[in-house]
């Protein structure tokens, strides 16, 4: 329609919409965000607390994902007799360096001397992994953080005392050790990683199942809805915690065992919300319009109804995420969680409780868990703000 025609229509009292300048050429559609998503991004950024929390969390998460490069009991890179080795990735047998163990213990002074004499090695900033026992702690475990002691005291157990080549900052226990002489910082980093990964995986999986189940119930209604709802009522009546206790007395609970058991019960959290949104939404006129066009049920649910349910889902998402993380922590605390020896925040808290004379255990665990849960809630709040239809469609 050209502009002359627009003028004519306008003179006749028609409401005419003039194109904006950038609309004259159709925009390259995949390249930029749609206007709604742009507004959502703006709303997200407008929530400063959530925006900064996201960045802090991303930094922490990225660091934790590369935990092996940050805190490890083996060098990142070593050159031995002209050969470049990557002990982070490969388990070299000790006989390669003249020892006899199946896996090299790089913390052994004999191996260190051997490698340093025939090449060099690059250590990560902290020379402990989550299960490395520090045999040189100056006091009986749990040992306080290294910065609370002077150099003489700190290195008194090394063969050469303060002059020992291993008396370096890389061997500090920045946050002390636990009651088995393992470095707390290393266990924190690995524990943070597994908690977040477990939480995210459980949230994503339970949301997918929950949204799908809620969508089917809400959209079809009737008998499907009735039977499904009664099933869920029976299902949620099973106490999850006792079930896990029973299962863990039979099986050794690992990451995937816990994941499966918790998933079996956590998916119901979203069903009610999504079902309600679909029940409401299926009577909207644009749903009838889509049905009249012959659009299939699956496409209607996916394209027309799901976006409506997303706001409610996203509102719940941070709570489900935090719920998953704290369930795992609680199980670890009780000793029914991840297998013994795994890095876990819950186990750290349990140690803190058992060793009140070593406050660095409990305080560290508390600070890290509360920081993580708060960051995730703040991010969730900002995401919810961004998807709030009253804000993004106003």
């Amino acid at each position: 329609m050209d502009s002359r025609l627009n003028k004519d229509l306008e003179n006749e009292g028609y409401d005419v919409l003039y194109p904006l300048a950038e609309e004259m050429a159709p925009p390259p559609r995949k390249m930029r965000l749609s206007p709604i998503n742009q507004r959502r991004l703006q709303n997200f950024k407008a929530n400063k607390r959530g925006y900064w929390s996201l960045w802090i969390f991303l930094v922490l998460f990225t660091l934790a994902m590369f935990a092996e490069f940050l805190t490890n009991d083996r060098p990142i890179l070593a050159v031995y007799k002209g050969e470049v080795l990557a002990p982070v990735f490969v388990d070299y047998p000790e006989e390669k360096f003249g020892g006899f163990l199946a896996v090299t213990d790089y913390r052994d002074p004999f191996i260190q001397d051997e490698i340093n004499a025939n090449g060099w090695m690059l250590w990560p900033p902290v020379r402990y992994s989550y299960r490395t026992v520090n045999n040189e702690i100056p006091v009986p475990a749990p040992a306080p953080p290294s910065w609370m002691m002077d150099k003489q005291e700190r290195c008194q157990r090394y063969p050469l005392g303060a002059d020992d080549p291993n008396c370096v900052i890389g061997n500090w226990n920045w946050l002390g050790t636990d009651d088995q002489g393992r470095d707390v910082l290393a266990r924190l980093v690995y524990g943070f990683r597994i908690s977040v990964l477990f939480g995210l995986a459980l949230t994503v999986a339970s949301s997918v199942i929950g949204v799908a189940a809620g969508a089917v119930q809400g959209y079809y209604g009737g008998w499907v809805d009735l039977l499904f709802q009664r099933f869920i009522e029976v299902w949620t009546a099973i106490p999850t915690l006792y079930l896990i206790l029973i299962v863990s007395s039979v099986l050794i609970p690992g990451f995937w065992t816990l994941f499966t058991i918790l998933l079996a019960f956590s998916w119901v959290a979203l069903v009610g919300v999504v079902r309600a949104e679909f029940l409401r939404g299926r009577n909207f006129e644009y749903i009838s319009a889509a049905r009249a066009l012959g659009v299939s049920n699956g496409v209607i649910m996916w394209r027309h109804l799901l976006p409506n349910a997303m706001v409610a889902t996203l509102t719940f998402m941070p709570f489900i995420l935090n719920g998953s993380i704290s369930t795992l922590t609680a199980l670890d605390f009780l000793g029914f969680g991840l297998p013994p020896g795994s890095a876990s925040l819950g186990e750290l808290l349990a140690q803190g409780k058992n060793n009140l004379q070593a406050p660095w255990l409990g305080i560290t665990g508390f600070i890290v868990i509360s920081l993580m849960l708060s960051l995730l809630i703040f991010i969730g709040e900002a995401v919810r703000d961004a998807f709030d239809p009253r804000k993004s469609l106003a």
């Binding site: 329609m1 009292g13 409401d15 919409l17 003039y18 609309e23 749609s34 066009l293 106003a394």
Partner: protein, 544 residues
């Protein structure tokens, strides 16, 4: 005192602040209301008429709303500077208000007695027994039959008209000097509308109260108001007596508004045209189930044995009040809901088709819905909305071809095709209805069901949409099933009309015959209410 107006609004402005931006909704409005006078504020949606009226009672969402200028003097007091305590003494006592939506303006958890008595207890401190007597008196006045039995009713047990009567009873409880009625009849059926208007008129004459009447319906204004203020874009562009405004409109907008009635002639009836849709003895019965075993004890007969034929290039109008089964009939014809009876489409029997077998036929039968805001998914761009049907029925065409067809359909309904990447909320109501029409037209259907496509639109936009629909029909030889309670629009579009009531056909025939020489009493009453706003006393119609 005698020559002072009861309410005087001078240079009133209302601004809304949202997200740091200020928008002016009302800009320098001045009008006066004398004792016993009815002043109508007329304008289209968004013109600021409701906001002006709400500011009289200071019912706007302060502090988001503010008044940069103006004063509202009621009986010598400036209400804009009055304190909240003083305002509460005025609200519901000296000035009271009736709202548009009778469904939501009554509290669903309180009985009629409690709601009406509340206002008496607050302002007059009446005792329970005294209030009860007064409530009975009021309910009788507003024409509710057997008020004693209605005292303990909850709002959901009342019909729309009865609810609006209860609202009026509440408004009149303290014998106010000024009654503000904000579109009090818009949500009601035509026959009920005529009754409510008559009731308001009678009560006003009886009590000598002044009335500020807000409406978009010029027919109501002409019949009931003494003076008119025409509002557009937050300003009063013209005010004067009803005779002046209607006979000698000065401002271009008033002229435009007066000329905006749906005009034009429906297509000629031509019995040689092939029948597109035909139904014999169509029935849609919803079972009522009772008891422990949910046995079906009775049926709600929404559509009860209807025969209709729609021919190519012709329009069949379905007329009736809400609940008469018009929309159910239309949906059943398109096999959107299950029904009994023969339905044929293009000579093919489709009653037994499964949902899957219907899918290829959906291309040829389309629906345009009533609510232009609800019928478009807010999260899809216009191009996606219009192109969705193409994805289903022409899955093999390229993205460019689809885009071309979408653009063509949008231009056909009078929208600029370059706006197709915008989202529905960026369009006005009329434009959205055009998008809905484009969505139906892009598939080049043979039959379109139009379910009240104009009733949510402003008068002048209604006329445009009617013109558009008629042009499209001419260009493509479309068969329309036009469902509406608005008889003026039906008259402009339909060449045949079926009058429905309680699921049955009351009268059917050519539109000239139905409109000019209605046979049945019900049709006569409907015509009187719709065109002359009169309450014809026909048995069964005055059932409120």
């Amino acid at each position: 005192m005698t020559n002072k107006p009861l309410l005087s609004v001078q240079d009133l402005a209302v601004a809304f602040t949202q997200g740091g931006k200020q928008t002016t909704a009302v800009d320098g409005v001045s009008f006066e209301i004398d004792n016993g006078e009815t002043v109508a504020l007329v304008g289209e949606s968004g013109s600021g008429k409701s906001v002006s009226a709400l500011s009289v009672l200071k019912l706007l969402p302060y502090p988001a709303a503010s008044h940069p200028s103006g004063e509202i003097v009621f009986d010598g007091n400036n209400l804009l500077s009055a304190s909240d305590t003083d305002m509460r003494k005025v609200r519901g006592n000296r000035i009271s208000m009736i709202f548009q939506e009778p469904m939501t303006s009554l509290n669903p958890l309180h009985t009629v007695e409690k709601q009406v008595a509340e206002i008496l207890k607050i302002h007059r401190g009446m005792s329970d027994t005294a209030a009860r007597e007064r409530v009975l008196e009021l309910l009788t006045q507003v024409g509710i039959r057997e008020p004693e039995t209605r005292l303990s009713s909850y709002p959901h047990q009342l019909s729309g008209g009865q609810r609006q009567r209860v609202m009026i009873a509440m408004a009149l409880a303290n014998e106010p000097d000024l009654l503000i009625a904000d579109e009090p009849t818009t949500a009601l059926d035509v026959t009920v509308q005529a009754q409510i208007l008559q009731l308001l008129k009678d009560l006003q004459a009886e009590r000598g109260m002044a009335m500020l009447f807000i409406t978009h319906d010029l027919g109501i204004v002409r019949k009931f108001a003494d003076r008119v203020c025409v509002m557009t874009e937050g300003k009063i562009v013209e005010q004067g007596s009803v005779e002046e405004i209607f006979s000698k409109p000065q401002h271009a907008y008033t002229k435009h508004l007066l000329a905006a009635e749906p005009k034009g002639d429906p297509p000629q009836t031509d019995l040689d045209k092939p029948i597109v849709v035909e139904a014999d003895d169509l029935k849609v019965w919803f079972p009522i189930k009772r008891g422990f075993l949910r046995r079906t004890v009775d049926y709600v007969k929404a559509v009860d044995g209807i025969d209709i034929k729609v021919r190519q290039g012709q329009t069949l109008g379905i007329v009736g009040e809400s609940g008469s089964g018009k929309t159910t009939l239309g949906l059943a014809l398109l096999r959107m809901i299950s029904s009994n009876g023969r339905i044929s489409f293009n000579g093919q029997d489709i009653q037994q088709n499964s949902w899957k077998e219907m899918r290829p036929l959906r291309r040829d039968m389309q629906i345009v819905f009533q609510d232009p805001f609800g019928a478009l998914s807010p999260r899809m761009s216009v191009s996606d909305i219009v192109g969705e049907g193409l994805l289903v029925h022409f899955p093999n065409i390229s993205a460019e071809e689809r885009d071309r067809r979408v653009a063509k359909a949008l231009e056909e309904v009078g929208l600029d095709a370059s706006t197709r990447f915008r989202y529905p909320h960026e369009f006005s109501g009329g434009q959205r209805q055009r998008i809905s029409i484009a969505r139906a037209m892009v598939l080049e259907p043979k039959f379109v069901m139009l379910d009240e496509p104009t009733s949510a639109l402003d008068m002048s936009v209604q006329a445009q949409v009617v013109d558009l629909l008629r042009d499209l029909q001419k260009a493509h030889g479309l068969a329309y099933l036009f469902i509406s309670h608005d008889l003026k629009v039906v008259r402009a579009l339909a060449n045949e009309v079926v009058v429905m009531r309680q699921g049955k056909v009351v009268e059917a025939g050519s539109s000239d015959q139905i409109f000019d020489a209605p046979q049945s009493d019900y049709t006569k009453a409907l015509m009187a209410a719709a065109f002359r706003l009169e309450t014809a006393s026909v048995s069964g119609v005055i059932s409120e």
